[in-house]
């Protein structure tokens, strides 16, 4: 297919652009296969380059022959284009609609994007499972790297290499896989160096209504327990939801078959409910006319903050079992690709200081989200302004980022990255020139030849000149476990995302700059003092005659 077929009117003059916090610009609107561009051809006004993939929905309005298109973006920004001429306006609108909803992955921008920077460190090679396993090997010899899924046939949503207990052979893994939803048998998610406890994740067991059991599955997870120790199974669903799942062939681990495990049910919402929640939240954030009562009641009704609290609470619970109770943990929900990953990744941020560095956090996203098979492409196809009925869209990863932001807010000195890093990740999951978040699993990414044909987000982000924007000036490495408060009054609305386009952040940005300035000045002084001290010490040794003891 040619993009040109979809572009009926490639350019229109005299278009007026309105966008948040910027002066109105009049200029020429151009449509390309992947971008909507507005340029005034004047030096001092910024051009608009908007990826079609970033457009969530559009609205058209006409007053006489002047058309207006309201463009609502997946990053929650809303811009307005005034287009003279009804036909032009209609053409532009239908082109945008078509170009922003292309179904074929291979037509996406990352396949056409050529970086203007030199790729020094290839992001595709940064976080390979073999490397992570080497780290694990240095701490314990209880685990092995299995190739049972090397052609993705045992579990299509798992990567080709998986970390499993040493004593469990591949044949048992296959049997356990057939007992778990989508073949997602229990695998290692995290090893807690401090006490050797582990966190595993899986999908729900397929017990069904007649209580099917699987010896291999039982053996597999029991292999992770120390003699005489009990473990915890954290089911992210309520007991009622888990019960209902039995009727559809799913279910949960029966006490009788897993006597060494204690099961705890939590209540993390499923994806379609989360999508509703996001839509309601953004709707209320965008209505500036709300009275205080109405705002608070809308915020409450959106349930967004409740979702944040529930996810964080569950992650704290998992971390507590491991660090405080000294017990191993298995986490799963239904499919094991959404709430499960929220919990396992947040628990690691709480427990493991290395996840709070930039590299460590990137590795965490690779391990626990991308390689673990979170279906990014399905979940992030549409955002808060989508009109259609959600299919499998859901802000699962955005909620994870929100939870990270909450912890970052409570521990502002313990993270190497700042809020901008999280916002950048949010943007790139929904629309990007990089392909990191394309596809729904490793298998799909391999098939699309992403690592050969496209550029990884990490190749760009990790360049020193980009990284600078994302560094937290207050960072002091902190080797402790950090326990966030999950009391409602400790959790705030993530203004950086949800109010980003509604209120100017000038004063907050200035405060940030001031903070950077204070810290840089301190470093500058330290350097000077240190060099003086060195010179003094040198002078003293030169002055005093050599004394041999």
């Amino acid at each position: 297919m040619e993009f040109a077929e979809l572009i009926k009117t490639p350019r229109v003059d005299g278009v007026v652009l309105h966008r948040p916090f910027m002066p109105t610009v009049e200029g020429t609107l151009c449509l390309t296969g992947h971008h909507l561009i507005l340029s005034s051809r004047q030096d001092n006004t910024e051009e608009l380059w908007l990826l079609h993939a970033n457009i969530d929905s559009i609205e058209k309005r006409f007053v006489g022959s002047l058309g207006t298109i309201i463009v609502k973006c997946k990053d929650l920004r809303v811009i307005q284009l005034d287009i003279p001429g009804m036909e032009e306006c209609l053409n532009i609108a239908s082109s945008i609609e078509a170009l922003s909803t292309l179904d074929s992955v291979s037509l996406m921008y990352p396949f056409f994007y050529r970086p203007l920077f030199e790729v020094i460190e290839d992001g595709w090679q940064l976080f390979v499972p073999e490397e992570a396993f080497k780290d694990l090997e240095s701490m314990t010899d209880e685990w092995r790297l299995s190739e049972v899924n090397k052609d993705f046939s045992v579990c299509p949503s798992y990567p080709s290499l998986l970390t499993v207990p040493k004593d469990i052979d591949d044949e048992s893994l296959c049997k356990a896989a057939s007992f778990r939803h989508g073949g997602r048998f229990p695998v290692l998610s995290y090893y807690h160096k401090k006490n050797g406890m582990v966190m595993m994740r899986a999908a729900q067991p397929l017990t069904g209504t007649n209580g099917r059991r699987c010896k291999e599955d039982e053996k597999l997870i029991n292999a992770t327990l120390c003699a005489g120790k009990r473990g915890y199974i954290i089911d992210t669903r309520t007991i009622a939801v888990a019960q209902q799942a039995k009727a559809r062939g799913g279910g949960f681990e029966q006490e009788a078959n897993y006597p060494q495990w204690r099961r705890i049910h939590k209540a993390i919402e499923r994806s379609n409910v989360l999508q509703e929640s996001l839509i309601k939240l953004v709707e209320s954030c965008n209505d500036q006319s709300h009275s205080m009562d109405r705002w608070l009641s809308k915020l409450e009704a959106s349930n967004w903050q409740s979702n944040v609290k529930e996810i964080l609470t569950t992650a704290c619970l998992a971390a507590q079992c491991i660090d405080r109770e000294g017990a191993s943990v298995l986490v799963h929900g239904t499919e094991g690709t959404d709430s499960t990953l929220q919990v396992t990744s947040l628990a690691q941020i709480i427990l493991d200081p290395s996840c709070r560095t930039i590299r460590g956090f990137e590795a965490l996203i690779e391990r626990e989200w991308l390689q673990a098979g979170h279906p990014f492409q399905q979940r992030c196809a549409q955002s808060a302004y989508s009109n259609g009925k959600p299919r499998s869209e859901a802000p699962v990863f955005l909620l994870f980022l929100d939870c990270v932001w909450q912890i970052l807010r409570q521990f502002p000195c313990s993270f190497q990255f700042n809020e901008n890093f999280l916002i950048m990740l949010f943007e790139h999951t929904y629309a990007s020139q990089f392909s990191t978040f394309l596809g729904n699993s490793v298998a799909e990414r391999v098939k699309l030849l992403l690592s050969q044909k496209t550029v990884s987000l990490w190749s760009w982000v990790n360049r020193p000149q980009e990284l600078e924007r994302f560094l937290n000036p207050l960072y002091e490495p902190n080797n402790l476990v950090i326990w966030p408060s999950v009391a409602p009054q400790s959790l705030q609305l993530w203004e950086g995302v949800f109010l980003r386009w509604n209120r100017s952040t000038k004063c907050l940005d200035e405060a940030y700059q001031e903070m950077v300035h204070i810290i840089e000045y301190n470093k500058e002084l330290q350097n000077k003092v240190n060099s003086l001290r060195r010179q003094l010490a040198q002078l003293e040794t030169e002055d005093s005659p050599l004394q041999t003891p």
């Binding site: 400790s490 109010l499 004063c507 200035e510 003086l532």
Partner: protein, 557 residues
Amino acid sequence: MEHIRTPKVENVRMIDRLTRRKSSVGTLYLSSTHTIFVENSEARKETWVLHSLIYNVERLPTNSSGSPLIIRCKNFHVYRLLIPQEKDCLDVLASLTRLSRPERYGELFCFSFNPNLDKELREKAWGFINLKAEFSRMGIPCNLWHVTAANHEYRLCDTYPSELFVPKSASPAVIVGSAKFRSRGRLPVLSYFHRDTSPNLFIASICRSSQPLTGFSARSSDDEQMLQAIMKSNPVSEFMYVVDTRPKLNAMANRAAGKGYENEDHYTNIKLQFIGIENIHVMRNSQQKLIDVGELAAPSMSDFLWGLENSGWLKHIKAVLDAGVFIAKAVAEDGVSVLVHCSDGWDRTAQACSVASVLLDPYYRTIKGLMVLIEKDWVSFGHKFSHRYAHLDGDPKEVSPVMDQFLECVWQLMQQFPCAFEFNERFLIQLHTHIYSCQNGNFIGNCQKERRDLRLQERTHSLWPHLWENRAEYTNPLYRTDHSQTQGVLKPLTTAYCFKFWKGMYGRAEKSVASHQSPADCLNAVREESQQLEEELSSHQEVPRETDAGQGIHMHA
């Protein structure tokens, strides 16, 4: 001492509500001013609870482990004790109930509080804030405004300060006549004079008063002339605003009692504006609901947000801030003078005037400036501190968190303008505690006259120099005098989503919810270290050495 039945109880358990593990056992001592809990642990950690800060004491039914006692403080600290013997618990309850409700001023803590200052220093301390100097900072007196002796010996209005600033053009007869036409004699006088530095050179002012005694039809030509004089003191403007901070319905209802609001037909060139801040009773109930939200055991997010909405607290904070924004805009952007009043002109009026002043004048965003503002708009103009903050056992209907709301408005502004204030949150919380604590004489009584009669300056100590000496603790590291946020008028957003729950104030019932790391504290530590490094650098430089020659060291502030 006669109220203390049991001066000492052993084996008392102090309970942390969230984590029982953090509970500690110790001995409880009752003195005439404090209850002190000393832990049995190695560290002998002490917790001091000032009796005048106690809001109430509640005993729960005795259970197998003892008699629980909950002490709730006016600064929202909550202490949970478990006393082994029921009899001891009853004794402590009776003692604390009496000790926390003094009946006479003489019993207040400030009269026994002795920080070991000699007489001379103490007197000097009372001169730390000087309102005359503050008016002269504003440029008053000038050719338009002067001081009047009309309230000498408080003969015109016993709740006003003795020195009042009025338009030069208002004759003594007009002043007296206007006072007679205002509730409790609280006539319109100058609160803040805005000398504009912008090219507009506006010289608009904020005046304050109580409601006029208009009833349904009464009028006073003196009062009308008084307002005319105020308007004329701003030569460039052709009208003035009268801001009635009450909801219009309340103002109308007052007419039946012979009070009310200005009739725009009788007063020439005024524009009347109602703001709709609710009365002290609504505010008292609202805050109680907010406190209850803070005390909920393990609330869900919905419980919390619903409770927050149901309390109405943030709605009221928004109303107060909106009033300030309206006044500041009129004065700074339109160059129009404003007269602010409510009913008596000592609660909502004080809030609106002082919030507007903080928005208008960078000086009031400094540590010293906020002290001056509180001294001027609240203390000197007869805000009824002892009634509102229940210093004495009295009418519970007089109690209301008026000052709490002002401090919270400042806090909300700090969230929007992090570099604009010299002080930090801790300073606001410390002020809040002292408004209730009765440790110093500053906030005792209900007006200047009462304080004079109590001879507070001879018998008690002033809070201000004490706070000033410790200002390092109250400094915002992001504040810089030459920062753009420090200059000029603040224009905050008052959209509903801009208002936050003040966790530092109302989240204190939960010890475990205390914030984990504070960026401000980190930055203060960094700045302190920078200062030491600067000193070290300059000391090295004082001893010139050859090797230092190439070390061009640039100091910046």
